[in-house]
Symmetry: C2
Subunit: 69 residues, 2 copies
Amino acid sequence: MHYLLGKTIKERRNMLHLTQEDLAAMAGVALRTLKSLEVGKGNPSINTLQKISEVLGMEVRLEVRKLDN
Amino acid sequence: MHYLLGKTIKERRNMLHLTQEDLAAMAGVALRTLKSLEVGKGNPSINTLQKISEVLGMEVRLEVRKLDN
DNA sequence: TCAAAAAGGGCATTATAATGCACTATCTAT
DNA sequence: ATAGATAGTGCATTATAATGCCCTTTTTGA
């Protein structure tokens, strides 16, 4: 269901040359959690998402949908 | 912690003239869940957030942080 | 090649989000 | 002012996210 989310995280992580282990440690989330997330499994809380996003220099935003797609 | 998130949801909901009961029903989440979320309590999953965002014509996005704030 | 590193997954446990219920507080029209 | 509608909260329960352990698969550098 959140395949795109995991894909985004994985791509950004690779772009920064971080391993899953690096990112998980830096973000303060369990490696197992990050692994699952990246392959699109699970339904992360925004806490988890934000901790990871922080390290990736990204942010979770809630915004009005742009017209069209 | 997610005070801003709840505030955003509440503002958008009022803008659309929906009650918490309306929104919760339309989004398919428990009223209790929405209430807590709007006052900044809890740590919603992105599923919950997305269901609510959908009804509000909003979306949860993960994007690279803009330079500065 | 092939050994080490990195990624992916099964499963049990723990922490906590989601929910229901019942109540109180606040807002809103009359 | 006051009744009904809407919003906020405490607490117990249920569903599930987060985690740890351990093993398999895939990738990568020498």
